[in-house]
Symmetry: C2
Subunit: 375 residues, 2 copies
């Protein structure tokens, strides 16, 4: 039964973007610029103002080079006379961040021009299509918080585990001030680096704080699995081991080593995709620990799923669910409405023109953060 629920959730979570054949693509504008996620000094890949991506990869003796980006089947590159393989996606890409890789003569490699981001249980190439609303996650001349790498002891897994903690600007200024905490989880195949690198959660926070739109809080990001790194592992996914790491080991460590408000009203959990599934499973079992819940492309919570509504109503201050418009947005409103009708603070958000990708989750976080810890 548990596995059935998980697989149904996963089916929704891993819905890939719509790949409608579009015959009438606009003419490609020759205003390509290097992607902002290129390695230093690298001219390719490039992106134009319409969202087309152009690749250029050196492999003079290769028989075939293909890029995973560009719709079903990806983008085949063509060998030019100079030994470089070149090609342009057949359609504009969605705005935001995309993972991709190359297939060179049947082997999977990364694009030497692009930086790497952990996704699909490997360090993949990444590219950024400038979004019309990119201002909210831009690096600006505002006070910046820090992303602190910590190593915390974990008896249950018999090692030191890594987490990243965002502390807001000025955290060190007033040693008497304490902050609420959001525990924020990555998706399947990603790790604790995702929300800072791909998600830019730290820059979104810096900007929200600079504009006075939120009261500062800490964000804690750690790896959401204990050993099941392969997809097959999810079939038998048991939330127990990670719940132990998070609730019994990490939270007490954070409360002991950072200036937190360490009570339930000041502790939230959210996650994207698999991290949303984990958030749902862990928060519903630990209502004395968490008060605010966010599921980004990671399912919903409906009133019908709550077994003890009185307790839920007393403990939970917010349930917020989101996804991209190219996922399954229709499920959000009914679930959210069912909670509202039961008297629970609830909201939902659909990211326009995005799929199961990071721009959906940057926007989801941007919508979610100002709703937290409003007391």
């Amino acid at each position: 039964m548990k596995n059935t629920i998980i697989m149904v959730l996963l089916a929704g979570m891993f819905t890939s973007r719509m790949c409608l054949a579009q015959e009438d693509q606009p003419a490609i504008k020759e205003d390509f610029k290097p992607s902002t996620l290129n390695q230093p000094g690298q001219e390719y890949p490039q992106v134009n103002s319409q969202g087309y991506v152009r690749f250029r990869v050196e492999a003079p003796q290769a028989q075939s080079v293909r890029v995973s980006l560009g719709g079903r089947g990806g983008t085949p590159l063509t060998k030019a006379e100079d030994g470089f393989w070149v090609g342009t996606t057949a359609r504009p890409e969605d705005e935001g961040f995309h993972y991709y890789h190359l297939t060179v003569d049947g082997g999977t490699f990364n694009d030497p021009g692009a930086m790497h981001f952990y996704g699909s249980t490997r360090w993949e190439s990444g590219i950024e299509i400038p979004a019309h609303d990119q201002d909210f996650y831009a690096l600006k001349d505002v006070p910046h918080g820090r992303v602190q790498q910590i190593l915390f002891p974990s008896k249950s897994t018999n090692t030191s585990r890594r987490a990243f903690v965002y502390t807001p600007p000025g955290y060190d200024k007033d040693p008497s001030k304490r902050f609420p905490v959001l525990y924020l989880q990555h998706g399947w195949g990603e790790d604790e680096t995702a929300w800072s690198n791909q998600g830019r959660a730290n820059l979104i926070m810096d900007n929200l704080i600079a504009e006075g739109k939120i009261k500062p809080f800490l964000i804690v990001m750690t790896y959401g699995m204990t050993n099941e790194i392969r997809f097959g592992g999810l079939r038998n996914f048991d939330i127990g081991p990670f719940q132990t790491v998070l609730v019994d080991e990490l939270i007490p460590y954070i409360d002991a080593h950072f200036r937190t408000l360490s009570d339930q009203p000041h502790r939230a959990m959210a996650g994207l995709s698999m991290g949303g599934m984990e958030t749902k499973m862990i928060t519903l079992k630990n209502l004395d620990t968490f008060s605010h819940i966010g599921l980004f492309s990671g399912g919903t919570i409906s009133a019908g799923e709550i077994t003890d509504m009185d307790t839920f109503k007393e403990k939970v201050k917010l349930v917020f669910v989101t996804c991209g418009s190219k996922e399954r947005p229709d499920s959000l409103k009914p679930a959210s409405d069912s909670l509202k009708e039961a008297g629970i603070e609830s909201g939902y958000y659909v990211s326009p023109d995005t799929a199961h990708e990071f721009l959906t989750w940057r926007r989801s976080f941007y919508q979610f953060a100002p709703l937290l810890f409003k007391d």
Copy 2:
């Protein structure tokens, strides 16, 4: 004249390891294990107890796959029947960390099995040959400090620049305690991630502190160039722009945002390779700012180079120079002795059986750190 000095320094810094042909290699032991720097779940590359490295790369239609590791010319791989290219280095590798990459049909790619480390102005594959003395940089069950990513404003370069700050365990416990600071620079082609990722400086500090061998201090690591990322750029290297970032922008920011002892006696600078060259150029011009100087595979300071010996003697509390035994170790002692004769605290260290690579610098840092801030 300035450029001549730099090029002579560089000639010494970039001495590559000795590649003597050795006919009588020992028989290869079949006790290969996955490298500790592999991506999660990846079985290859593997390392055996003698330091041989075995590679296995999927590229079924490729014509040739070669690995840059394994002496001059690297290691050619052979296609097996399953479509995987396999091969073993012709000789044991030196202990410690090595950068490498693949050449697949004439193109440069990373090994999909290995994690990436920024070196040679690109994110390269990395492999770790377990060293007999690896205990000093191992991840142990001791209190761990943090590596804090900060973004500091830089007017001279008109952007927010990134730095990493190591804060020792307990930094947050006593808000009245202040700490000395070491500014620690990477080498050419690397960046501000190198000393934590490849160098494990944070773990070396954690271990030294846990053993009571040093008084805790902060380490600040930032990118040591402003725009000249290509090798050619070094020919016209001007220390001015980076000196401005470091001395006029980063140091004041650190002193304003961390609990530092912000006077000259409690501020050190060290660097590896090009970072050593930068350390020498910047500290000699800023004796009112720095009191302790470390050059790791980055040249030496001799008494004859000091123009105002009285001031140098008054201001400088330590000059420490190091390199690997496979570099040019003979230059260290005469330079160090010349300073000692002039009455200056000076020392040197030669890392056994290592070249211009990171085990040399991990060991150099391990030797250097306990000598700092002894007052």
